[in-house]
């Protein structure tokens, strides 16, 4: 694998993570518990779309085959998507969505802080812009998880259930493969190994405030980074890509 290919994969994966989570969050549009939260969730979906657009555009440029961000978003099948599995899981209830937001945004808080220092100027610039958005996503998720966890017996039970169910999908965020290691040597990629301690400490602290028990570390799901997905991604893509698949190059 050349460095160019590695960088393409890297930007593509970051783009895919944003795009797929964005698709999930936008499903809350008109379905959130109340109007203000509806706006908050779709706001976050739009932040993620912006990030996905920037990352996929860059991936296309690095690849050098003239593919645009739209080509990459709408013309790839599920085996060519490299997002973490946690992003594609169905929204579940509101507690489940918020716990996922907490796990992901806490990770991204550490990740983009480091990616800002990347020797790749484009990645560093996207990271700096993203970090401001992520700080808000994290604050929002943290407040909700604490509010629900420390709320009624019912809301606490729902948060605990979500934490237990999602825990096995958190390991994948810290995986490093050959491409990552190659880019790490050039100072381009983030060493996600180094993020793990900070992530676990912050999550533990927040869950303690929410009266939620930390699950024991067990089997961690993996696969998304290699294009092996849950049954859910195909459904997201079929909805997202329908128009471009049915009417290629359609414009309006």
């Amino acid at each position: 694998m050349t460095q160019q290919q590695a960088l393409y994969n890297y930007a593509l994966r970051l783009g895919d993570n944003s795009l797929i989570l964005s698709a999930r969050l936008s499903e809350w549009c008109s379905n959130a518990p109340f109007l203000e939260e509806d706006l908050a969730l779709t706001n976050m979906a739009l932040d993620l779309i912006g990030r996905a657009q920037a990352m996929l555009k860059y991936a296309g440029e690095v690849e050098g085959k003239g593919r645009t961000e739209d080509d990459l978003a709408y013309r790839r099948g599920e085996r060519d998507y490299y997002n973490h599995l946690i992003m594609e899981l169905p929204n579940g209830d509101f507690a489940y969505t918020m716990v996922r937001q907490l796990f992901v945004s806490t990770y991204e808080l550490f990740f983009f802080e480091e990616l800002q220092k990347s020797t790749d100027a484009t990645l560093a610039a996207i990271a700096a812009k993203t970090l401001k958005e992520v700080k808000y996503h994290h604050l929002h998720a943290k407040d909700w998880v604490i509010r629900l966890g420390d709320g009624t017996a019912e809301s606490n039970a729902r948060v605990q259930k979500a934490v237990n169910a999602l825990w096995m999908y958190t390991g994948e965020m810290f995986e490093m493969d050959h491409a990552d290691t190659m880019l790490l040597k050039e100072g381009i990629a983030v060493n996600t190994d180094n993020l793990k301690l900070g992530w676990i400490q912050m999550v533990t602290q927040i869950l303690a405030l929410a009266n939620i028990d930390l699950p024991a570390d067990g089997y961690m799901q993996t696969g998304g980074r290699k294009g092996i997905h849950t049954e859910y991604l195909g459904h997201i893509l079929s909805e997202m890509q329908y128009l471009q698949r049915a009417y290629p190059d359609a414009t309006w």
Binding site: F34, L35, E36, E37, L39, N43, H140, D143
Partner: protein, 96 residues
């Protein structure tokens, strides 16, 4: 009418730029101060409308009663001498 079960109502005031007056933007629902601030941000500052936000519980606002309008406001209507309209306006003064 069913009861409003969507948390407490807060009034939102936005400042468009530093030094400008805070202007009432609308109201939102929230259960606490932090949530009120976040909901106000999400509802009223999505398109770069503001640089600062105040949120105030609607219950903390004391409003005048429409029945008192006569007593409160009408006496001001015929006191033209209260307006500084008998002065010559300095040239170039616009915001008076």
């Amino acid at each position: 009418m069913t009861a409003d079960n969507q948390l407490d109502v807060w009034e939102v005031f936005m400042q468009s730029k530093p030094g400008a007056n805070y202007i009432h933007a609308g109201s939102i629902h929230a259960s606490d101060k932090q949530m009120a601030l976040q909901n106000a941000r999400d509802t009223y500052s999505r398109r770069g409308e503001g640089t600062s936000i105040w949120v105030v519980p609607s219950s903390a606002i004391v409003a005048s009663n429409p029945e008192d309008n006569g007593m409160f406001f009408d006496p001001a209507n015929d006191k033209i001498y209260r307006h500084p309209t008998f002065y010559v306006m300095p040239e170039g003064a616009k915001a008076i």
